[in-house]
């Protein structure tokens, strides 16, 4: 008989099973009393399938990554943002204007705009918020006539605070876009 499901037989089999289970309420179906060998379905489980303990204590030597972790000193002021916001304020527009003027006078120059957040809130959301901040600045610079090809963005979320202190003053400094001449 192929795999066609038959309700009659299923109901019958389930009824038999139910009767069996009531009748065997106190007996463990794995093995009856007195039989001390382990049950057949518990065949030896060789632990070698899961080599958790085999992982090396030290990771394989890796070349040190490009040094993104160090703060790059900038000739330009940072653009600052309010908490959870990515709109440029008056100071931010002024600071961006200085960058725009520089780039117009130095057509070969390129600028990387870093987006940053303060430490509050969770890392993934802040990573995306930093990208939004950097892009807001880039959009503004383009509106001032800077060619898009001169600009790029990267977000560091809250991973790279300018000021590691845990107070409002530090947090305000950390909510920023930072300009890096390439």
């Amino acid at each position: 008989m192929k795999g066609t499901f038959s309700w009659k037989w299923a109901v019958l089999a389930l009824s038999i099973a139910a009767l069996m289970s009531v009748g065997c309420a106190k007996k463990q179906t794995v093995k009856s009393e007195g039989d001390q060998t382990p049950p057949a379905e518990s065949a030896p489980a060789p632990i070698t399938e899961a080599p958790v303990a085999v992982a090396p204590a030290m990771p394989p030597a890796e070349a040190p990554g490009v040094a993104v972790t160090e703060e790059k000193v900038s000739k330009f002021d940072d653009v600052r943002f309010d908490f959870d916001k990515s709109e440029l304020k008056e100071d931010g527009r002024k600071a961006s204007g200085v960058v725009a003027d520089y780039l117009k006078n130095h057509p070969q120059a390129k600028v990387l705009i870093e987006g940053h957040c303060d430490e509050r809130g969770t890392a993934e959301y802040n990573m995306a918020l930093g990208e939004r901040r950097a892009t807001a600045v880039m959009t503004y610079l383009v509106s001032l006539g800077v060619p898009k090809a001169a600009l790029s963005t990267v977000s560091f979320g809250k991973e790279k605070p300018l000021d590691p202190a845990h107070n409002d003053e530090a947090w305000a400094k950390n909510r920023r876009a930072h300009f890096v001449l390439q």
């Binding site: 463990q28 030896p44 030290m58 890796e62 070349a63 990554g65 995306a128």
Partner: protein, 437 residues
């Protein structure tokens, strides 16, 4: 099994013989009963054939510590045990069950260990002391260094036998921390018992957001080591790596589909982060959630049919749920606080998340339809963030931070039991609990 019996019934009969006790109240533990009675269990000193005699105490110690951690068992103290277990008990000689019952045990665990050369052999058995019957027996073999792994496996089987849900011993937590004097962050892995702490990356860049593949063999993560963020898959045993997501700006991997074929991630294009999924093999891409809001942190349901994620389309970050392939998303956080970092329980019934409440961040859980929100982890001073469920859905690992101090903590989902998992590293965070072993 006769072919004339319907397939479903056949599976039911087979299931009866494999899961002896879950349907019967004799030795049944309801893990969802709040403050339920613990089962009194005795773990006897192991019989040791050839090998270090200290195994006799070491094996029951590892197992007892595991059973205590579940909060489902009361361990009968070894000093009360009256019968000495020998190799004879594994080849026909019955245990003296009245003696075990007299000291209060409803279940007894015995073990036999042998070390021959570089090979360790262990047989372990679980008995119902009231009925005097064998519930579970296993034989294991491995290297002596795998002793703990073997005993953890048996602990998981014991929990499964009594509750129908597998224990989580031997599982691990991946996380990030700053290493040494470096300003970067590396990936680490630690056992759920706090042992076997080890570094996974060592490139002194930013390595962030580790997420386990369903088979537990790979970690998806984001690294800045080339100068820009790229999502990689790193094999945790071999160290082999493959690049998975390079396009776009900011990016963070979320969870995988249950078959491991797709990785969900939040990725920014033109400054706006949306939810995508990427085929792990082949790299083809689908946008799952778009729009002008900022969308991050996708966490798939265990059946892979829905995802929880964060969106600020309403003005502040909140948790939403979407059914894959069906238009529309439903907000499930209450819209008041700032809510992020959803983690869908492998049991399917709860979503954990971080929410700002009373001026600091706390960990809460909610049903996938948005009802029944409960605070789980909070401190009056400091933030509790980034929860990740254990594979049995009974515990959460999360980050606690207070100014310069940070630690990983584990809390039961009823909030009653809490312990510190990792402290002493700088800026620990982003914990991710591995799948079951």
């Amino acid at each position: 099994m006769k072919r004339s019996v319907g397939t479903a019934a056949g599976v039911f009969l087979l299931a009866l013989s494999l899961f002896p006790s879950t349907a019967f109240p004799v030795l049944y533990i309801d893990i969802n009963a709040p403050g339920g009675k613990r089962m009194p269990i005795a773990v006897a000193d192991a019989a040791v054939g050839s090998g270090d005699p200290s195994l006799s105490r070491e094996i029951p110690k590892i197992l007892s510590d595991d059973l205590v951690l579940t909060d489902l068992f009361d361990l009968i103290p070894p000093t009360a045990h009256m019968e000495t277990v020998t190799a004879a008990h594994f080849s026909g000689k019955p245990l003296s069950f009245p003696g075990w019952k007299m000291i209060g045990a409803e279940a007894v665990v015995i073990g036999l260990a042998d070390v021959r050369g570089d090979r360790l052999w262990i047989e372990m058995r679980l008995y119902d002391a009231t009925q005097g019957t064998l519930l579970l027996g296993k034989r294991y073999t491995g290297t002596p260094g795998q002793l703990r792994s073997i005993v953890h496996r048996f602990a998981n089987e014991i929990v499964y036998t009594f509750t129908g849900v597998r224990g989580v011993f031997g599982t691990e937590i991946a996380f990030t921390a700053r290493s040494g004097k470096s300003r970067g962050k590396e990936l680490y892995i630690v056992g759920m018992d706090g042992r076997d702490l080890r570094k996974v990356t060592d490139n002194r860049s930013f390595n962030l957001f580790p997420r386990w593949s369903p088979d537990g063999q790979w970690l998806a993560y984001n690294s800045f080591r080339t100068g820009a963020p790229v999502v990689y898959l790193r094999n945790v045993s071999t160290g082999a790596e493959k690049e998975v997501i390079r396009f776009g700006g900011s990016k963070a991997p979320g969870g995988f589909s249950p078959d491991g074929a797709w990785l969900y991630a939040g990725v920014s294009q033109a400054g706006n982060s949306d939810i995508y999924r990427v085929r792990v093999v082949g790299g083809s891409l689908e946008k799952i959630v778009g729009g002008w809001g900022l969308e991050v942190s996708p966490s798939p349901s265990p059946d892979g049919k829905r995802i929880a994620f964060v969106s600020d389309r309403g003005g502040s970050p909140q948790i939403y749920v979407k059914t894959i392939g069906v238009a529309g998303e439903t907000r499930i956080s209450n819209g008041a606080g700032y809510a992020t970092s959803p983690s869908w329980s492998p049991a399917g019934d709860r979503i954990a998340y971080t929410v700002r409440s009373g001026g600091r961040f706390i960990v809460a859980t909610v049903a996938p339809d948005g009802s029944g929100s409960r605070d789980v982890a909070s401190e009056t001073d400091g933030d509790c963030e980034d929860p990740s469920f254990s594979p049995d859905g009974r515990s959460l690992v999360y980050t606690y931070r207070k100014r310069d101090y940070s630690a990983l903590k584990i809390i039961s989902t009823d909030g009653r039991r809490q312990r510190t998992l990792v402290s002493g590293l700088r800026d620990v965070g982003s914990p991710a609990w591995s799948p079951g072993r």
